[in-house]
Amino acid sequence: MPGNGKLKLGLYWAASCGGCEIAVVELREKLLIVDQVADIVFWPCATDFKYKDVEAYPDGYMDVCLFNGAIRTSENEHLAHLLRKKSKVLVAFGSCAYEGCIPGLANLFDRESIFRRVYLESESADNPNKVVPQTAYHMPEGEIEIPKFYNTVKTLGQVTDVDYFLPGCPPQDPQIWAVIEAIVSGNLPPKGSVVGANEKTVCDECKHVREEKKIKKFYRYHEIIADSTRCLFDQGIICAGPATRGGCGALCTKVDIPCRGCYGPPPNVVDQGASLLAAVASVVDADTEEEARRIVSEIPDPIGTFYRFSLPASLLHRARR
């Protein structure tokens, strides 16, 4: 630890929505305690440090860097490598950095199809010259560059070495606080651990009563008014609880919204989507192949349903190009 006894703390956002930054701010008055024990040396969202400041730090200067966001562009990847070099402990903070999250669903497409949709075809696009982003542009004053937009979204752990993974979209503030306390006290688990979450599934924290599941028809959430005492899955609403790590306190199911899986797979599950798919298939009440096919064919967008937060981290990573 440095001379003043304070931790040097960095925070960074790559391809993310900013919700993880809000989750940090949600610590509220505890932020003052963070300030007492840590010097923030990099936090683009809230402070005015520049990339060149970080580049000037000696290697391993930051004690801890909380990195949120997936790797979407060459800039994200550059910063991932840079912050790895400058940090003693690099934490993949939130679902995007941990497993790709919602930005990772873009792995159903590639750069060309995303650019076409966004810049040329979308209803609000006003682009008569059909301009799409280029990485370099020549001007009289010289060449300017912008980061390259990759074909595939990756997780932080897929481009660099990560010490800890803190799941959640966003991570819940009591869990963030528990992790900060662990860091401050030096009471850290083995490298590579998932921190700020439980070892059991969301179902373990959920208050809804479970019975035997026999589903003849699956409903999308807006198609049914859920009974707030019975298990949502028992009612035919696909709930990712059985395939999702607990730690959030089952916040969504508490208000009768099905779990969507943001805390990632539980321990020892390789592929969250396959695990949820198996759970969904096991409740289908069909005695013939045709009936099973009819019941499951009503599930729209299987990847978006089963891998909503984990496509880049899944076994297949992306749709075929």
Binding site: V270, A274, D287, A292, R318
Partner: protein
């Protein structure tokens, strides 16, 4: 697998111990003609086949996957393991399709222990079908160096 640069499909088959594995064994013992492209993994029951097995096979280089077990309703050694299979596999098909993997690369069905010729025929036909589709080469989809 490749001889002289010619594409040879690599096919992984998960077969239940009691029905299709027995059929495959009989097909071999009876010297029925089968291509060497199918690698068999024996499981006790098709109901044990986690969707992860299929995804992992494709992710690690399989060009095609076969799942085969006991005929429903009554053939299953464990009463209803094949029910789990036919409830699960239509959803796996939907998933693979969304991943961009052609339906012709994934076959699931039933072959009893007494249907060895049917197994031999499936290996021949499925291998040719996958050969026509060409290499899948999933690892190439996710290069470590991004472009």
């Amino acid at each position: 697998m490749s001889n002289n640069g010619k594409f040879e499909p690599r096919i992984v088959a998960f077969l239940c111990n009691w029905c299709t594995y027995t059929a495959a064994d009989t097909a071999g013992v009876s010297r029925m003609k089968q291509p060497p492209n199918v690698d068999i993994i024996r499981v006790m029951c098709t109901g044990r086949i986690d969707p992860v097995f299929v995804l992992k096979a494709f992710a690690e280089g399989a060009d095609g996957v076969i799942i085969s077990g006991c005929h429903p309703p009554g053939d299953c050694h464990y009463t209803n393991g094949n029910y789990k299979t036919f409830r699960r596999m239509p959803l796996v098909e939907m998933l693979l399709q969304q991943y961009g993997i052609e339906p012709g690369r994934f076959h699931w069905g039933w072959i009893s222990g007494a249907e060895a010729p049917k197994w031999a025929e499936l290996t021949r036909e499925f291998t040719e079908q996958v050969r026509k589709l060409g290499p899948l080469n999933w690892k190439k989809q996710f290069a470590s160096k991004e472009d």
